[in-house]
C-alpha cells in the first residue's frame, strides 16, 4: 500500500497575498474604485494637513485671555480658560472636591459591578447603585453631612449631565422593571395602566416632558410647596427613562426561556421569589447591551435641559461663547471640545455594549 505523503504547501503567489493584494482588492479592484480611492486620498491629503495645522501647529495653547490667541490656528486658550465651568458649572472651587469624590464613587461602583466576585456581585452592586444617588446628593448639597450647603443653582457643567443621567437611570431601574412586569401581567387593569404609562413616555417629545416638569409640575403640588427645579427635572427624567427601560426589560423578560419559569415553579418558589431570584438576574444580564444603549440616549438627552435654562455643559458653553471678553468667535473650538467629551463617553459605552453582547453570544455557544 502506498503511503500518503502530503505535498508541502507552497506560499501563495505574491500577487494574491500581502500588501499588494490587499491594496488591489480593497482600493483598486476596478477602475471606478481606483478613481474613488484617488479622489478620496487627495481630499484627505489636502485637508488633513490644514486641520493639523489649525488644531495643533498654529494653535494657541498658552495664556489666560483672548489676547493670548495671536496665531491663526485654534484658540484652545478659550477652552482652557473655561474648562472649570465646562466640568463643574459655577460650583464653588473650594468645594469642588465633593463633585470629584462623587465621581470617584461612581467610578468605583461601576468597576465594582463588573469585577466583584460573582457570588456577591449582584446584591452588592444593586445596593451600591441604590445608595449612590443618596450619597451623591448628600455630598453635593452638603447639608445632610454638615457641610456648607451648595444651592442647586450653582450645579452645572458636564458633571451635572453625568449626575442627572446616572441618578435618573438608577431610580428608573426598579420602576421600569415593575412596568415591564405590569405590561406582561394577566391582570387587565394593571396591564392597561402599564401600557398607557410606557407608551405615553415613549411617545411624547422629551422636550415637552421637560416643559411639563418646569411649568406644569409646580401646579400639581399643594400650594406653597416649592420643589427644587432640578428635582422636578429629575422626576421627569426618571419617568422618561422608565418608559424606555420598561421596553428594554420587556424584551429581556421575553428572552428568558420559558423553562426557567417552569423550573422555578416546580421547586415551589412564590411569584416574587421567582422574579427576584431567577428572572431578574437573567434579565439584567440579557438586557445589559440595551440598557447601555438606552443610557447613552438619556445621557445625550440631558443636553436638552438647556432649553429650560439648566446650566448643563452646552448651556455653559453658550454662556462662554457670548461672554464679552471672549467674543472673538471660538464656537468651533468650543463645540469641538464638547463634541469630544460627549463622543468619548458615548462611544466608549457603545463599545462596552457591543463587547458585552459579543461575550454573551459566545457564552451561549458553550
Amino acid at each position: 500500500m502506498k503511503e500518503f505523503q502530503p505535498s508541502s504547501p507552497r506560499s501563495a503567489p505574491v500577487k494574491s497575498v500581502g500588501l499588494i493584494a490587499w491594496l488591489r482588492d480593497n482600493l483598486f479592484s476596478s477602475i471606478p474604485n481606483a478613481v474613488v480611492t484617488i479622489a478620496f486620498i487627495s481630499f484627505l491629503a489636502y485637508y488633513i494637513p490644514l486641520l493639523i495645522d489649525w488644531a495643533f501647529l498654529s494653535a494657541n495653547f498658552k495664556g489666560e485671555t483672548e489676547a493670548a490667541c495671536v496665531n491663526d490656528g485654534a484658540c484652545w486658550v478659550f477652552v482652557n480658560a473655561w474648562s472649570y465651568q465646562f466640568f463643574y458649572g459655577t460650583y464653588p472651587p473650594e468645594e469642588v472636591w465633593r463633585i470629584n469624590l462623587t465621581i470617584v464613587l461612581l467610578i468605583l461602583v461601576i468597576i465594582g459591578s463588573f469585577t466583584l466576585p460573582k457570588s456577591i456581585r449582584l446584591k452588592t452592586s444593586i445596593a451600591a447603585w441604590l445608595l449612590l444617588p443618596v450619597v451623591g446628593i448628600a455630598l453635593l448639597d452638603g447639608r445632610l453631612l454638615g457641610l456648607e450647603m451648595v444651592s442647586t443653582d450653582l450645579w452645572g457643567g458636564f458633571s451635572l449631565n453625568v449626575f442627572m443621567a446616572t441618578a435618573s437611570i438608577v431610580v428608573a431601574f426598579p420602576f421600569s422593571f415593575l412596568w415591564a412586569l405590569g405590561r406582561r401581567s394577566d391582570m387587565p387593569f394593571i396591564r392597561s395602566v402599564s401600557v398607557t404609562f410606557i407608551e405615553f413616555f415613549r411617545g411624547v417629545p422629551v422636550l415637552s416632558l421637560f416643559f411639563m416638569g418646569s411649568v406644569m409640575l409646580p401646579l400639581f403640588f399643594a400650594e406653597g410647596t416649592n420643589v427644587d427645579k432640578l428635582i422636578r427635572v429629575w422626576l421627569v427624567l426618571i419617568f422618561f427613562m422608565s418608559g424606555y427601560m420598561a421596553e428594554v426589560f420587556r424584551g429581556g423578560v421575553q428572552a428568558v426561556p420559558k423553562g426557567q419559569y417552569e423550573a422555578a415553579d416546580s421547586i415551589g418558589l412564590g411569584y416574587w421569589q421567582k422574579i427576584m431570584l431567577i428572572i431578574l438576574p437573567q434579565v439584567i444580564k440579557i438586557s445589559m447591551p440595551n440598557i447601555l444603549a438606552t443610557f447613552v440616549m438619556l445621557f445625550k438627552n440631558t443636553t436638552f435641559l438647556l432649553i429650560i435654562g439648566i446650566p448643563e455643559v452646552v448651556q455653559t458653553l453658550q454662556t462662554a461663547l457670548s461672554n464679552s471678553y471672549w467674543l472673538g468667535g471660538h464656537a468651533l473650538e468650543g463645540y469641538l471640545f464638547v463634541f469630544l467629551v460627549f463622543w468619548g463617553s458615548c462611544f466608549g459605552m457603545s463599545l462596552l455594549a457591543s463587547r458585552i453582547e459579543r461575550t454573551m453570544n459566545t457564552d451561549k455557544r458553550d
Binding site: 500500500m1 502506498k2 503511503e3 500518503f4 502530503p6 505535498s7 504547501p9 507552497r10 506560499s11 501563495a12 503567489p13 500577487k15 494574491s16 497575498v17
Partner: protein, 254 residues
C-alpha cells in the same frame, strides 16, 4: 452492484488542470487535476477541511482561484463576467443548507431563474417548475413557503430549482448532511434517479451506499489534494493509499 450504463460520449465537460487556491496564505487546493466526461457521476469524499467544498465551488466560480485552468463545457473560466454567467447557467448547484429564498413561494423559487435568467414567459416557467416539482414528488407544496416544509422537502425543492435551469452539470455539496436520517433517503432517491437519466454529477457526500450505487468514480481528498481516485468497487474494497483506508475505516465503522 447495479451497473449503470455509462454514457458512451467521451467528451470532457470539466477539465481542471493544476488548480491551486489560497485563502490568504493558506494553501487550500494543491495541484488539482480532474477531468469529468459527459454523463459521468463523481463522488468526492474526504475529511472535514480537506477542500471538497472549495473545489466544487470553484467550478461555478463561487470561489476564485489563483493558479491553473478550469474549462467547463468548453468555456474557459477567466476573469470575465460573460464567461462566468455562461458557466453558471450551465451548472446547477445544491447546497448543504438548501439556501431556498424564504421570501418566495416554492413555485417562485423555481421560476426565478427561468424568468429572470432564461427570460421565459411566466406560464412556461411555471409549467417547467411543476414538471420538476412532480419529479421530486412534491407538486402539492408549490404555493407554500420554504419555512413550511421539512428539511428533506426543502432539499428536493432546491434540486428542482437547479434542474429548472436545465443544467448540463449538477454540483452537490453535502446535500444530505443537514438532514435527519429518514429524510436522507427521499433526497438520495431523487439524486439516484437523476443519475440514472445520465446527468453529469459531482457530489460531495459521505453516503457510501449512494457512491457504490451510482458513482462512476470516487475521489478522495485530503489536505487540499486529490489523494486517490478509482471506480467505486475498487475504491472501497481495495484502497491503494493508507490515508484512504484509514478514512474509510473511520466512516464505515461509524
Amino acid at each position: 452492484m447495479t451497473a449503470i450504463s455509462s454514457n458512451s460520449n467521451t467528451e470532457d465537460v470539466i477539465v481542471i488542470e493544476n488548480l491551486n487556491k489560497w485563502y490568504g496564505n493558506f494553501h487550500v487546493l494543491r495541484d488539482i487535476n480532474l477531468r469529468v466526461k459527459k454523463g459521468e457521476r463523481i463522488v468526492i469524499c474526504g475529511p472535514s477541511g480537506s477542500g471538497k467544498s472549495t473545489m466544487i465551488r470553484c467550478i461555478n466560480r463561487l470561489e476564485e482561484f489563483q493558479e491553473g485552468s478550469l474549462v467547463v463545457d468548453g468555456v474557459e473560466m477567466i476573469e470575465d463576467v460573460k464567461n462566468i454567467e455562461t458557466i453558471r447557467k450551465d451548472v446547477g448547484m445544491v447546497f448543504q443548507h438548501f439556501n431556498l429564498f424564504p421570501h418566495l413561494t416554492i413555485l417562485e423559487n423555481l421560476t426565478l431563474g427561468p424568468i429572470w435568467v432564461q427570460k421565459k414567459p411566466k406560464a412556461e416557467a411555471e409549467e417547467i417548475a411543476m414538471k420538476y416539482l412532480e419529479r421530486v414528488k412534491i407538486p402539492d407544496q408549490a404555493n407554500k413557503y420554504p419555512g413550511q416544509l421539512s428539511g428533506g422537502q426543502q432539499q428536493r425543492v432546491a434540486i428542482a430549482r437547479s434542474l429548472c435551469m436545465n443544467p448540463n452539470i449538477m454540483l452537490f455539496d453535502e446535500p444530505t448532511s443537514a438532514l435527519d436520517p429518514e429524510m436522507i433517503k427521499e433526497v438520495l432517491d431523487v439524486m439516484i434517479e437523476l443519475a440514472q437519466e445520465g446527468m453529469t454529477m459531482l457530489c460531495v457526500t459521505h453516503e457510501m451506499g449512494f457512491a457504490k450505487k451510482v458513482a462512476d468514480r470516487v475521489i478522495f481528498m485530503d489536505g487540499g489534494e486529490i489523494v486517490e481516485e478509482n471506480e467505486p468497487e475498487a475504491f472501497f474494497s481495495n484502497p491503494q493509499v493508507d490515508r484512504t483506508q484509514q478514512f474509510l475505516e473511520q466512516i464505515l465503522n461509524h
